[in-house]
């Protein structure tokens, strides 16, 4: 049986406001427990929520970036459940008329582009944290996080593999950072994914029964959890069993998902409009104001890199994976309009590898785009070889010679021999010392030629231009 995988993602993004969504307490990460929990966050009797304009603004920006409908009025609802990290006994969320409805995001998987539809994105407050370590058999509650603004972004079940799910999550992650509504810090929980996974026989229209995997806080876990879950479901179905709709947890240590709760005891949240909050009206001119404040979006840049620079869809996607990366690339490309592909290769290759080694982001790269452009220029004009360029790059990275590319080349003696007469003498010496190989080559052994090139390069201590050596050798032996 051929199975088709169906995935939808729900992503909780923490909005980058200074203060909480309904109170004036700080949202800064890492404060001492409960020092940022105000009366509203603690749900003391008589307090009322007041909505943060900054949270609404960020939600609208997101809606505009994905071409969604911005609902006005938009309303808040109470989602009722009992848990001590939520002292009100309900979470303020949105049910009917979420602030953002519809829209879509284009993702790149290999060389294929695919559009993923969004169902909605709604504002809600985060809950606090429960610590179940040993407090004499009790749980410790920290309400600093309670009331932190979240935008929950829900996709349609348009994803067909874990690779597509990861591509979507990464694209969304890049987008929310790009438009400055979320810091995207996954270790601190600013970007958390839940995956709805089901399988169906290929060709069948009806969706299979789905399971929801909660709280996947890295792209790797997202991929592993989906792969495991798909295998699990297919195995059950192929043995003639059926899938039970349930919520599952991913155990990162074991690499498997397990039951958290089944549908029978699923929460009935009894949503209803929150009487403490009035409908939010969003004036068209506010939306327009936010629309013009948006930067050029990753999708637009990606298309521009393909049409304007002739890059492949894959390269364009990599280079627009963050705004810092795209800005870096463009700054280098502007100085080398004829060598854009080479700039792209350097950034995706040597520079990314070097950044990874030190665990740095491109925004923290000690070698600026202007220096990279200059370095590429020196390869192009034949001053240095591609191999020597790597040495120069490392020197630039270390800040040697005041990051002057030419001074580094000079100081390290990396200049290629462009002087024909010096090279000619070298070649003559090599030919004289390797009479056997010369004879072999003339006798038809092509391999002998490469050996001779190697000898010349060695004699030149790597400073000869290989193309030039090739040409001159051919001429001499011809």
């Amino acid at each position: 049986m051929q199975w088709e995988i169906v995935i939808g993602l729900e992503v909780h993004t923490q909005l980058s406001t200074q203060s909480k969504i309904f109170s004036g307490a700080s949202t800064a990460y890492g404060a001492l427990p409960n020092t940022q929990a105000s009366f509203v966050d603690l749900a003391l009797p008589g307090v009322l929520p007041v909505l943060n304009r900054g949270a609404v603004e960020r939600a609208i920006k997101f809606g505009l970036a994905v071409n969604a409908t911005i609902n006005s009025p938009s309303i808040f609802a109470r989602k009722n459940y009992f848990y001590p990290d939520l002292p009100k006994g309900y979470q303020i969320s949105q049910y009917e008329r979420p602030i953002v409805e519809g829209g879509s995001i284009a993702i790149q998987v290999g060389e294929t582009e695919k559009t993923i539809r969004l169902t909605r994105a709604h504002l809600e407050e985060d809950a606090g944290k429960s610590l179940h370590e040993d407090f004499h058999g009790m749980s410790g509650i920290d309400l600093n996080r309670a009331g932190t603004p979240l935008l929950e972004i829900v996709s349609e079940p348009d994803l067909r593999s874990s690779a597509e799910a990861v591509a979507y999550a990464k694209t969304l992650h890049a987008l929310v950072r790009w438009i400055g509504i979320c810091d995207g810090n996954m270790q601190e929980g600013s970007f958390r994914c839940d995956a709805n996974v089901s399988v169906r026989p290929r060709g069948q229209e009806k969706y299979g029964t789905r399971c929801e995997i909660k709280n996947l806080n890295s792209f790797r876990f997202l991929e592993k959890a989906i792969d495991f879950e798909v295998e699990r479901q297919i195995e059950i179905l192929e043995e003639g069993g059926s899938i039970r709709q349930e919520t599952r947890l991913f155990d990162a240590n074991k690499g498997e998902t397990r039951t958290m709760r089944t549908k029978e005891d699923a929460n009935d949240y009894r949503y209803f409009p929150d009487p403490d909050l009035l409908p939010v009206e969003i004036a068209p001119d506010w939306i327009e104001q936010l629309r013009v404040s948006l930067p050029e979006l990753p999708q637009a840049r990606r298309e521009r890199y393909v049409t304007e620079y002739g890059l492949s869809g894959y390269d364009a996607a990599v280079l627009t994976s963050s705004r810092e990366m795209a800005d870096y690339f463009e700054a280098a490309a502007k100085q080398l309009p004829e060598r854009v592909k080479l700039c792209a290769n350097w950034i995706m290759g040597d520079i990314s590898a070097r950044l990874n080694r030190d665990g740095l982001d491109i925004g923290e790269c000690p070698v600026g785009p202007a220096h990279v452009a200059q370095l590429i220029n020196r390869i192009q004009d034949g001053t240095i070889s591609g191999k020597a360029a790597k040495t120069v790059f490392e020197s630039l990275w270390q800040g040697e010679q005041g990051q002057d590319v030419d001074a580094i080349i000079e100081a390290k003696g990396l200049k290629q021999m462009s002087d024909n007469s010096a090279l000619e003498k070298l070649i003559d010496d090599v030919l004289a010392a390797n009479a056997q190989q010369v004879a072999d080559y003339r006798g038809g052994k092509e391999k002998a030629f490469n050996a001779l090139v190697g000898q010349v390069m060695k004699a030149a201590q790597g400073k000869a231009n290989p193309a030039q050596v090739n040409a001159m050798l051919k001429e001499k032996l011809g």
């Binding site: 406001t17 603690l42 900054g54 009025p73 179940h132 009790m138």
Partner: protein, 95 residues
Amino acid sequence: MTLSINDVKQVAHLAYIKVSEEEAEAALSQLSGIFKLIESMQAVDTSHVEPMSHSQNLVQRLRDDRITESDQRDLCQSIAPQVENGLYLVPKVIE
């Protein structure tokens, strides 16, 4: 819609309210009365009426994104039954 005794018990369970058999029976008859009232209201044709999300015809005011609250942990925790290391302690809950 008719309400059953099980519906009452389920709602009580979700709301973490402990009810005895008699209380459940009493709640059933009271709630059924309310449902009857709703039923008679449903006879009114509201198909052309936009549903309200709030009883007052007002619009939500927004506040600027500024930190206006300072740390009042000591004050807040002075009325808590049990605290430790700055945390509020509650009976253990693991789902």
